[in-house]
């Protein structure tokens, strides 16, 4: 079919109705020393030390920021073990033996509402830096850097769209922890001095719309409104969301804050509330475990550091264990496919998808143009692929096609009539385009 792929089958109506199961914390928890953005780290504790929950145990180093590492359970530090991280790398994890007491670190203390009302944007940024708040929708970008923007903000957008199929983590969070969502939005409004806050959700989720219509009726003066937007993929992309909610077109390469807009994922907002109110870093989050490879797809509230194997056990185990499986952390369109189930939940994992592996026969490209019609960044994936197939590589030709604008949404591969993995070519083209 020569058509733009826009509406992807959702397959999560039933999963969105399942309540979140709060899982018991396992006996061993693992905290990553490095992650996708940070290459080096130091730890402040040694083997055999006792740690409290949310205690500062180390610091990660990245090119332009440092990120504190916190423990997510109280117990003993046992040493290092290597496991797979969400980024696909084999990373050293710090292994903790859980003493099941959950003794909170003294750094965790409640701030009263009057104290919070006196905080300025820079105070809040400092709190978020100390609590290692990052984008929990998958970007893992440090929130305090976003908060330190000097541009005036007129619109605050909260991304509750979750446009990827199969995932319902944010959906359940918005339904079950709605008070914390609203309080977190108010803190952000106070930080930016912004009276217009929009909570963006997909227009077809009647349960969310009804709930927030009722809740926000109590908050008429707060300036928080519910903004239903389109039901297609990738509506959750920040540029698409900003266009749908405010009509502002942010061109590629520019930050939304330059146009007076700032956006946060709804899980990040709940994390911000917990950091400001209780000085607590994020140590647990919602995760959906689904796909046709597990017996009972479920929504879980999981302690950060849980091995994925225990999540799959709680979902009833593998369906057809003798068939080879595909593991994806994140959504099926943009998530990372991992080589084994020996990985650990970190703060930014939103879901675990397990599918039975399917073989596709790749046909030659017939230049139908479906990828060109589907690309949300208005690129020409088939032209980029043909440019990459030429050897020696024509740098000028690849650069002229602008592959750096690609957001790696995967719609080109999804819509290809010949089942060619077009996105891989564009990813390789990005490497070529970055060369001088």
């Amino acid at each position: 079919m020569i058509a733009a792929a826009k509406h992807i089958e959702d397959t999560k109506k039933l999963l969105g109705m399942l309540p979140t199961i709060h899982l018991a914390v396992p006996e061993y928890l693992f905290i990553a020393t490095n992650n996708a953005r940070c290459n080096g780290s130091e730890t402040f504790i040694k083997e055999g030390d006792h740690v409290n929950c949310c205690q500062l145990i180390g610091i990660r180093h990245a090119p332009f920021f440092d990120q504190p590492i916190h423990a997510t359970c109280s117990g003993t530090f046992l040493g290092y073990e290597e496991h797979y991280h969400r980024s696909g790398k084999l990373v050293k994890f710090m292994k903790f033996h859980n003493d099941f007491k959950d003794t909170m670190d003294p750094s965790v203390h409640e701030r009263s509402d009057e104290e919070i009302a006196k905080l300025t944007k820079d105070d809040i940024a400092k709190i978020l830096k100390d609590c290692a708040s990052v984008g929990l929708g998958g970007s893992s970008f440090p929130t305090y850097i976003k908060m330190e923007t000097k541009n005036p903000i007129k619109h605050l957008l909260i991304n509750g769209i979750e446009c990827e199929p199969y995932i319902t983590s944010d959906h359940r969070l918005m339904l079950e922890d709605s008070e914390e969502v609203i309080k977190g939005i108010k803190i952000l409004q106070q930080a930016f001095g912004c009276s217009d806050a929009k909570l963006c959700v997909k227009g077809k989720y009647k349960d969310l719309r009804e709930l927030y219509d009722v809740l926000l009726r109590r908050e008429k003066d707060s300036g928080i409104t519910l903004c239903p937007v389109g039901n297609f993929f990738p509506q959750g992309w920040e540029i698409a969301m900003i266009r749908a909610a405010t009509g502002i077109d942010v061109p590629s390469g520019h930050l939304p804050s330059e146009f007076g807009v700032i956006n946060f994922n709804v899980s990040t907002v709940v994390g911000i509330y917990q950091a400001v109110k209780f000085n607590m870093p994020v140590f647990e989050r919602n995760i959906s475990v689904t796909g046709d490879g597990v017996l009972m797809p479920s929504n879980f509230r999981v302690r950060v550091g849980t091995p994925i194997k225990s999540l799959i056990e709680r979902s009833g185990g593998y369906k057809d264990p003798d068939k080879p499986k595909v593991f994806i952390l994140g959504g099926p369109m943009m998530g990372a496919s991992l080589p084994s189930d020996d990985c650990i939940i970190t703060k930014t994992v939103t879901s675990v998808l397990v599918f039975n592996a399917e073989k596709h026969v790749v046909e030659p490209c017939i230049r139908c143009g479906s990828c060109v019609l589907s690309c949300p960044a208005h690129l020409q994936p088939v032209a980029i692929m043909n440019a990459m197939k030429v050897t020696p590589v024509e740098k000028e030709r690849v650069k002229a096609l602008d592959p750096l604008k690609c957001i790696e949404c995967g719609l080109c591969t999804y819509s290809c009539t010949s089942k060619i993995p077009v996105l891989d070519f564009v990813r390789r083209a990005k490497v070529i385009a970055k060369l001088p």
Partner: protein, 381 residues
């Protein structure tokens, strides 16, 4: 994808089978078998192996290379072969079996030099069916012209008798200067006959109803891009309507404006070309603004060849011309998938220039009223 195109071709093929019975079947058999065989040999050559430096028997090597043969390697040449066969008349006369020879040579030439030398499926610049057809037309035109056809498109002369004569394929002017094509034609065939295919002509292009059924099926299933069809037919209609104003203004006797337009649209390979040959995704540009321009270029070329050129063969050549333009439209330095001024400007300039040239040529260059009759009578492929 290719299966859908075959299903869309079914109404046309069924009509041809009903009208010409076994002639159609034989022609189809020749084309399909030759094109499929050529593609199979190509797959063998491409996958020849195993390249491990050891001795293998020929049969082993053929078996190994055949593993690369997928269903699309059969469907793609079949689709090209069916389209190619439908462009021909059902049979010719002198010598009787010559059509089969011409079909065979054209099928092989079309597939090999129109598709396989470029690298196979997805790599060709020109439509292989059109390449084969034009090859036969240019090489063997003498065998097809001046002969009496059973049920081919014949010339009409004054007096209303059907004379044996110039063929569609060769492209002589159908008309003798003394007669009025419109009146004679309309006394033998009505527009309903032209629509349903009761007129003489090649196998595929006469029954417009069958072609339209195929077009609707392809559009509903979204196997073709509607932009090319709309821009081709729309620009063609616009140019024909403006060209028809010239004899209307000059007061040509017996000239029926509506009948002229309807004849031009319903005759020849226009609808067949627009549905099956122009919309082949491999030969189209990839971006939306370029596709609008592609249809326009093909339409301008069709109108110019039909009205201003000596050939009656407007559609097939114009498809080749548009295919040539497609890589230029796709060049990375200026192609874009959004509509900017530089994309939209050609869409306006090209039809305007075409209209200008058309009017200038028709008004200035053709003084004699009889020449108008010649020109505006001959409406063919």
């Amino acid at each position: 994808m290719l299966l859908d195109v075959l299903i869309a071709l079914l109404p046309v093929v069924i009509f041809a089978l009903i009208k010409y019975t076994w002639h159609t079947a034989v022609n189809l058999a020749i084309s399909i078998s030759l094109m499929a065989a050529a593609e199979y040999v190509f797959v063998l050559i491409k996958n020849w192996g195993p390249k491990d430096g050891e001795k293998h028997s020929l049969l082993e090597r053929v078996k190994f290379a055949s593993q690369g043969y997928t269903i699309n390697n059969f469907l793609a040449p079949t689709v090209s072969a069916v389209i190619y066969t439908m462009l021909f008349p059902a049979q010719n006369t002198n010598p009787v079996g010559f059509l089969y020879f011409a079909l065979a040579v054209g099928a092989l030439f079309g597939l090999i030099f129109g598709k396989l030398v470029f690298g196979g499926t997805g790599q060709n610049i020109f439509n292989p069916a059109v390449v084969g057809f034009i090859f036969v037309k240019l090489c063997f035109s003498s065998s097809f012209s001046g002969l009496w056809y059973i049920d081919s498109f014949n010339a009409v002369s004054g007096g209303g008798t059907i004379i044996p004569g110039s063929s569609v394929v060769a492209g002589g002017t159908i008309l003798s200067t003394a007669s009025n094509f419109e009146t004679v034609f309309s006394s033998h065939y009505s527009f309903l006959d032209m629509f349903l295919g009761n007129i003489p002509g090649t196998m595929g292009e006469t029954c417009k109803l069958a072609i339209l059924l195929g077009l609707v099926y392809l559009l509903v299933r979204r196997e073709i891009d509607w932009r090319v069809v709309v821009s081709y037919l729309g620009t063609f209609l616009l140019l024909i309507m403006i060209a028809g104003l010239v004899p209307l203004a000059k007061g040509l006797s017996g000239f029926d404006y509506g009948a002229f337009i309807l004849t031009q649209v319903l005759s020849g390979g226009l609808l067949f070309g627009a549905t099956f040959m122009l919309t082949d995704p491999v030969t189209m540009p990839i971006t939306t603004p370029s596709r609008w321009l592609y249809g326009m270029i093909a339409a301008v070329a069709t109108v110019f060849i039909r009205l201003l050129g000596g050939y009656a063969e407007g559609v097939a050549f114009s498809i080749l011309i548009a295919n040539m333009a497609a890589p230029v439209l796709d060049h990375y330095k200026w192609s874009s998938s959004r509509f900017h001024l530089k994309n939209v400007l050609p869409l306006v300039i090209v039809p305007l220039c075409a209209i200008g040239i058309l009017i200038w040529a028709l008004v200035d260059k053709l003084p004699a009223a009889s020449a108008f009759v010649t020109l505006f009578g001959g409406a063919i492929l």
